[in-house]
Symmetry: C2
Subunit: 169 residues, 2 copies
Amino acid sequence: MDQNVFDDPRITAVGLLVEAHAGLSARFAAQFDEHDLSPVEFEVLMRLARSPGNQLRMTDLAAQTSLSTSGVTRVVDRMERDGLLCRRACPSDRRSSYAVVTRTGLDRLDAVLPGHLRIIEDWFTGQLDAAALRATLDGLRRVRDAVHPGATAGSTDPAPADETAATRG
Amino acid sequence: MDQNVFDDPRITAVGLLVEAHAGLSARFAAQFDEHDLSPVEFEVLMRLARSPGNQLRMTDLAAQTSLSTSGVTRVVDRMERDGLLCRRACPSDRRSSYAVVTRTGLDRLDAVLPGHLRIIEDWFTGQLDAAALRATLDGLRRVRDAVHPGATAGSTDPAPADETAATRG
DNA sequence: GAGCAACTATAGCCGCAACAATATTCCGTG
DNA sequence: CACGGAATATTGTTGCGGCTATAGTTGCTC
């Protein structure tokens, strides 16, 4: 029977990863929506807010998100129109411009974050006891490190953000 | 410092999940591309091939993938045009139509699967020893079950697929 | 068996994002 | 200093997919 192929433990493994991710993402999106934010806008807000000076060059923002540079241009367009951030010319390089979070943007982030953390707790970390959580995250970290999205898509870990900013500052 | 918020272990946890997923997905997509398949097309082929009669009603296909019904209509349009599947009228309900994998579609799947499994091995399951893998998958499964994408988006686990097909057969 | 609500697939419309092309700026080389 | 290649941001084009509306079908109720 060919059927067996689909029960392959490898297929099941990615299925679990994909479905856990999809389910969580859906919960996130629903909550973001309550605050008139799209997932990518939240990501942009987070990246900017954690960066020194609450700002990032367009290119760096693209590197840290899952967006292309043109994608960043348009997201920043929308967010600037909505007052969540503003562009600022880069004094040292006239090709570049910074995206800077506005007070409004930070406020929005403050409004979203508690609920966001709550969702993570309720549907992810809180589902596992300490040991299981640690084991799961260790596994995910090893996969993440192997597959290296950090180099291009930007890591959620604290370190790389500053590093990227510093490289191009 | 506000900076601490972004180092919150909860944020880091989802970051790992998201990045592992993104990295893996990128590898998958690259390999699919070598065989002129999009990720969603691969998903459709898998779902159909694992279903009894190699066919599924449009609605069920939508339920098992991450697509809306209109999304399924268009993907099936494209795949039918490319000869990977064909539509078949449902004899018992004239509203419905089946999407049926063609021989070409099955061949395509056979061509893609070995490489796909290899990628999973190389970048996911093979990165962890047996115990760590088991622990990681257990954690993911618990999150998956909690967040329940299986009810709407379709589960990769063997069971629900048949069940859905049987419900509507 | 007529009417009505639910279901199924599809088409219209829209927004989002990637790719490619373009304009501007920077920098190394001669 | 002039030139050429790299880098940066933006815009045009394209394709995908969700939401809504629509047409056809079914089955339930009276």
